[in-house]
């Protein structure tokens, strides 16, 4: 497949870098201001070198990407809330041109799911978005394989930053502020970690899951969301007295979405440590399935994007 990649952050760059391994060509790559396009496949190494060196990615504007001859648009621009722009318009343009779209951007899938599906219905192209939920973990394809109707709920830990902070608080008996500063030093937490610690990032993923289970109907404002900022180290100590720990757990069902700090058995599968993620998919006919792995990171998330590309039918 010929890929056009919008967004040259960790995920977009990793998709470009790994595409060759999966036998795909990258014909266009754009960041927010510039683009490089080559119908014969762009020279990834030198483009990425320019990007890392803070130079222009290429001589063209991002607009040029849509004129390139591509099969799949990889939407890897940053997640935005509300109208999910400009990601939504990118997807719309590609579908209207009868191309496939693979999203790593959570915004359009969480906030404008029905519109995406309507556009897809009118297009020869399809949309896939495995990378938006749980990075490298095959969550959506597992649901797809079990058929969404047979999945009754999805629960789990889908934010590595919050999980890292809670794990360190429990292990070291430290308070939130202290561990957050440490996580920022280690590069695990962003300078502004609000979306991670207030539950918004996890909630977006569970909104996407509810949308998949119920075939639409949900956006972030339908989710009940609590963060971990008000959890002191002492709460984790008390939980441990009872063989429990606290994790930021999300739950998605056809009825709604809930994200908040919850008590879980200390040695249970949902008590993953560090930045690891886990999902528990509860099925009607096959009990619970658990899948754990790296929920973020450039190459990890890129593998989900490229698996999606591999599942697309030829155009």
């Amino acid at each position: 497949m010929k890929l056009a990649i919008l967004g040259a952050g960790d995920v977009g760059r990793s998709v470009a870098d790994l595409a060759g391994e999966y036998d795909h060509d990258v014909v266009a790559l754009a960041d927010s201001t510039t683009a490089t396009v080559d119908p014969d496949g762009i020279d990834i190494a030198s483009a990425l070198e320019r990007k890392v060196g803070d130079e222009r990615l290429g001589p063209k504007t991002p607009e040029a990407v849509f004129e390139a001859d591509y099969d799949v648009l990889v939407e890897a621009t940053p997640t935005t809330l509300g109208d999910a722009e400009p990601g939504f318009s990118h997807v719309k343009r590609a579908l209207e041109a009868d191309r496939h779209v693979v999203l790593a951007n959570k915004g359009p899938v969480a906030e404008r799911y029905e519109e995406l599906r309507a556009l897809e219905a009118d297009s020869a192209g399809s949309i896939r978005f495995e990378a938006t939920v749980g990075g490298a973990i095959p969550v959506l394809s597992t649901i797809e394989d079990s058929t969404p109707q047979a999945v009754t709920a999805v629960r789990g830990v889908l934010n590595g930053t919050a999980n890292f902070i809670l794990t360190r608080m429990a292990a070291e008996g430290l308070d939130y502020e202290h561990v957050l500063a440490e996580a920022q030093d280690l590069g695990v937490a962003e300078a502004d970690p609000t979306f991670d610690v207030d539950g918004t990032d996890a909630a977006l993923k569970f909104v996407i899951l509810s949308n998949v289970l119920a075939d639409g109907g949900f956006s972030l404002e339908d989710a009940t969301v609590d963060g971990i900022q008000s959890i002191p180290g002492s709460a984790l100590d008390l939980a441990a007295e009872d063989g429990r720990t606290i994790r930021l757990i999300g739950e998605a069902t056809r009825e709604g979405i809930r994200v908040g700090p919850r008590l879980v058995p200390e040695n249970g599968p949902l008590a993953v440590t560090g930045t690891r993620n886990i999902v528990q998919i509860e099925t009607r006919n096959a009990g619970s399935l658990h899948s754990s792995g790296r929920g973020a990171g450039g190459p990890e998330t890129a593998t989900a994007v490229l698996s999606d590309v591999g599942r697309l039918p030829p155009l």
């Binding site: 609590d226 008390l238 599968p269």
Partner: protein, 186 residues
């Protein structure tokens, strides 16, 4: 036979476990306690705590022992049966006596917001009994502190009880860390 052991042997611990209490009475003989506990672990229960009330005799002259354990809810009846099969006198575990137990952690200005009032409201409004309480106030009672309470609730009333606790927490501006209960699917 293999079906049977799959049924009772390998307890699932996928987050769908709950805490239960059984009250036993034991004959005061060496090895009795161990003998009484074996059927629990053999049937997939995880022992949480044992209150061996030495010196406190039941009317029949036996020693009361209270055992807290956790297991998937559908294994509990099997554990009670296994205890009885082993000849252990189970004095409280029948469906009419045992309820469900859940732990909840409350965080906030617990002292300022009158902890004992909070607890009595939970007992009234959540129809629960506070079985156990543990408070941590590392920065003094004026600061944010945490309390873990274990609640005994009538079977099937967990959701209602948690909703009541949630509403009391929101009245008093407390953060409620609820347990994640297992799913409803078998």
């Amino acid at each position: 036979m293999s079906d049977e052991s799959a049924e009772t042997g390998d307890a699932e611990t996928d987050g769908g476990v709950r805490a239960f209490t059984v009250r036993l009475e034991l004959v005061d003989e060496p090895g009795e306690l161990l003998r009484a506990l074996a059927p629990i672990s053999d049937s997939g229960g995880n022992l949480l705590s044992i209150h061996h009330e030495r010196g406190n005799m039941t009317p029949r002259g036996h020693i009361p022992v209270e055992v807290d354990l956790e297991c998937p809810p559908d294994r509990f009846d099997g554990i009670v049966d296994a205890l009885r099969d082993a000849g252990v006198n189970v004095i409280q575990a029948g469906a009419e006596h045992y309820g469900e137990e859940i732990s909840v952690v409350l965080v906030g200005n617990l002292v300022e917001t009158d902890l004992s009032n909070t607890l009595s409201r939970i007992e009234d409004e959540a129809s629960a009994v506070v079985r156990d309480l543990s408070l941590a106030a590392p920065n003094g009672t004026e600061a944010v502190s945490s309390v873990r309470i274990r609640l005994a609730i009538d079977s099937g009333q967990t959701d209602a009880a948690l909703a009541a606790v949630r509403s009391i927490g929101s009245d008093k501006d407390l953060t409620i860390v609820e347990p994640l209960l297992g799913g409803d699917s078998p």
